[in-house]
Subunit: 343 residues, 2 copies
């Protein structure tokens, strides 16, 4: 292996290997969480007065290369804002600010740019963030595909919040906030010209309010993650590995829209590996799981929330799926690439 | 005009129009400064205790699409780190953290990736920042040109620092920290296969220490800017417009390496519009200009620093160049595109 393959961008096994072998030695990236959390006391600056109460900020970055740029339920603009807002939410931060940087191909239609910027503005408003800095680069025709958008974000954390993919505990219940596969199938159907009835819409949306409701109810959330690239399967496998727990989930509890299920059947996709955007999975102490579920279901973005399984002490690092017909199978990370350029 | 043209990415007039007509209505971008400055009191979060002393943070973002990705004196990795570090420095911030997001074309050589990451790591160390979060996307062959890198940065500001392109004052002296045109000519020579003797090297480098020395000496710096895309001419015109002052500079005082001058003569470029990376221009009260210059010249990155002119009360918003042969000409922003993909 001496060249970058599409699979390196899949969010799955190859990407993890790339991060471990190439990025980790070069950068100070300590966890695979969606955002880095840094205490202001680490700023090591004489500009913060010593008697100032320190607090924690979260930083995250993501570039969006989704193809096509307009798809049922959203576009690259709303996706770029929501995705970064949600990455901040997943470490328990309240999103504050984002920056936006666009790489545009020469010849791109200004009307499309206007639509995308307007959709970014709306998404920022919905997500509770301000877009405070921007940048635009233009490359010659054929040197980029229409438009790529980077958003980077900053959020602030409550003192009592301590959420990480590495903090799931044995006995935790696992809640999933909504149906899986919608974003991936929506983008793919638009790209390939498939028409589903009813149409499958992307679930791109900000999880700011949902997470704020959840954290108002309890600070005892251990792990939280939005299963984007690599799908629910990859996300659960990451948490099992990072936390050193086993995970058991029940196939017949995982909510999937019938149209998404139908599309996956026809196209040979496993919905467990299809990308999502506007859902989250949360690991929480068993004795408050039902009450948290009630809180979540009051939010329209989590009305389908359900407990899908638990973290166990058996087979640490392994995700087991109890299938609908009663068997058990091991769920691994996505290997290779299922749907390139899904976000 | 209904499509994006290369000139929209030039840093010049077309980009300013694009920002004014498209980005400003959608985003909360209040100034054209290199970074947004936000007081923590604006965070409007109950998570910061009321008795916590507020402080100011700077946020910035830039995507780098330079072609070729390796050039004399640097590569896209060092450029991406230095560029964002310097954007933070230009508002007087001490750079703290950056994020890095890569868009890579399928088939890109892993050896080249390794070189670039290593050069980012070194640049971060030199610039005094930590790379705390990252992201990688891969697009199909032919859908991006090798590799694009976004870096976004966070810095912290001293209470007494108040620097903006809109704060230049009549009577200010204008100091330029080094020779102009080196980066643009270095990239262009590599791209086109020209060989200059002596070779022209990019001046990509972090200005963290230089700016820290300057701000230790005085907080009375009014405007500071690194003249990147659009060159020195565009930067000065931006400051003249934003501050409502006239600017008079003296052609024979502007330092240019003889090899850069020769290359510009042969190729028909005006060095005033060629991109730089590792120099800055600073507007400071006349009575401390000479002393600041002495401070700057002690730093190896500013050994060629020189006063090139002053802000005047005449012809506000206009930049006048006193030419070597005694005439005066008006200097406008770059119009159209001189050298695409220079950063």
């Amino acid at each position: 292996m001496d060249r970058i393959l599409l699979g390196h961008g899949s969010g799955g096994r190859m990407m993890h290997d790339l991060i471990r072998d190439y990025f980790a030695p070069a950068f100070e990236i300590k966890t695979l969480d969606d955002a880095a959390v840094i205490n202001t006391s680490e700023f090591n600056s004489k500009l913060i007065t010593p008697n100032s109460e320190p607090f924690r900020l979260a930083f995250t970055t993501d570039s969006y290369v989704v193809d096509p740029i307009f798809f049922p339920g959203g576009d690259i603009g709303s996706l770029a804002v929501n995705g970064t807002v949600n990455d901040l939410c997943m470490v328990g931060a309240t999103p504050l600010f984002i920056t936006a940087s666009l790489i545009i191909e020469e010849g791109f239609e200004l009307n499309d740019l206007k639509k995308i910027l307007s959709s970014m503005r709306d998404a920022a408003k919905n997500g509770g963030v301000r877009i405070v800095a921007g940048d635009t680069k233009v490359v010659n025709r054929g040197k980029a595909d229409k438009i790529f958008i980077n958003t980077s974000g900053v959020g602030i954390l409550d003192d009592n919040v301590n959420i990480s993919g590495s903090k799931a505990k044995i006995g935790d219940k696992i809640i999933l906030s909504g149906t899986i596969g919608n974003h991936g199938i929506a983008v793919m159907s638009q790209r390939e010209g498939f028409v589903f009835n009813p149409p499958v819409l992307s679930d791109t949306r900000p999880l700011t309010r949902l997470c704020s409701d959840m954290l108002s109810f309890t600070k005892e959330i251990h792990s939280m993650r939005d299963p984007t690239r690599g799908g629910l399967a990859t996300t659960l496998k990451e948490i099992a590995s990072a936390s050193g727990v086993g995970i058991l989930i029940h196939e017949n509890l995982i909510p999937i829209d019938s149209s998404v299920r139908g599309a996956c059947d026809i196209l040979g996709f496993d919905p467990m590996y299809v990308a999502n955007e506007g859902i989250l999975t949360v690991f929480v102490k068993a004795d408050i799981a039902e009450a948290l579920l009630d809180v979540m279901r009051k939010n329209p973005y989590a009305k389908d929330a359900v407990i899908i399984g638990e973290a166990t002490g058996a087979q640490k690092g392994t995700v087991l799926l109890q299938t609908a017909i009663g068997g058990k199978r091991i769920v691994d990370m996505l290997s290779g690439e299922q749907l390139p350029r899904i976000c």
